[in-house]
């Protein structure tokens, strides 16, 4: 799993690529803890490069979202497609979080 990070105003934009599953979820957890510890509480996850996500990945996202919420932060998602978009839709996550078609929309 790869992370490409850019700062856009107060938004911490993280492009996540690869797989977010039971094998890699701990890596995501460690990264997200570091983002929050560094004070990045307005998070935008750009998932255009994410090829696969399972419930283990959703659990990591939920954990991150709860930590951000507890610190008055926020999380939004953009650029989902294919199987990842299907998993968000079927699980209900797509209706629970701010979702955007493009990064520009997420940053507007």
């Amino acid at each position: 799993m790869d992370f490409t990070i850019t700062q856009n105003g107060d938004k911490h934009v993280v492009a996540v690529a690869g797989r977010l599953d039971a094998v890699t979820a701990s890596e995501f957890d460690a990264q997200s803890e570091a983002w929050i510890a560094d004070g990045h509480t307005q998070l935008v996850l750009d998932l255009h490069g994410l090829e696969y996500i399972s419930s283990a990945g959703l659990r990591s996202i939920l954990t991150t979202a709860k930590k951000l919420k507890a610190g008055n932060g926020s999380i939004a998602f953009c650029c989902l497609s294919g199987m990842v978009e299907e998993v968000f839709s079927v699980s209900g996550f797509g209706a629970m979080f701010p979702m955007f078609k493009s990064l520009d929309e997420a940053l507007a």
């Binding site: 039971a22 419930s55 959703l58 939920l62 294919g82 209900g92």
Partner: protein, 138 residues
């Protein structure tokens, strides 16, 4: 009907990658579509991680994975001899509302039910047998 040799492994979450590497090429070689491969990948992970995490108290328990093709479906049967558990019972509805109150339990079972054509469980001879079938051409 095509049946493949049974895969045997310990109930250790760390074996997921090995299991994937043995099962997915069988479907690929059988001409599975990209959608089928994605769904199979996911349901295999959810089912294996469930069994490896909850069937036994340690990682010494056995899990068997049997793959077969029938009627255009690629079917995976996971068998363990741990505590009885029916993953098809009381599947929750998709999560709604405020995520602050949400726990993730059950989401894997929602995904498995959605991404399979057949999803069946039997308790047989002291074993849990959980079969998941995905359409090869979907």
């Amino acid at each position: 009907m095509t049946e493949y040799p049974t895969i045997r492994t310990n109930a250790d979450r760390a074996n997921l990658t090995s299991v994937r590497e043995q099962v997915l090429p069988l479907a690929q070689a059988a001409g599975a579509s990209a959608t089928c491969m994605g769904h199979l990948d996911l349901v295999l992970e959810e089912a294996f991680i469930n069994a490896a995490s909850y069937a036994y108290e340690d990682t010494d328990g056995r899990i068997e994975i049997a793959c077969a093709i029938r009627d255009g479906l690629f079917c995976v049967t996971l068998r363990d001899w741990g505590v009885a558990y029916d993953p098809t019972a009381n599947i929750p509805t998709p999560v709604t509302g405020d995520f602050g109150d949400l726990t993730i339990g059950g989401v894997g079972r929602i995904l498995m039910a959605s991404m399979t054509e057949e999803c069946t469980y039997v308790r047989k001879d002291g074993a849990n047998e959980f079969t998941l079938c995905v359409s090869l051409k979907k």
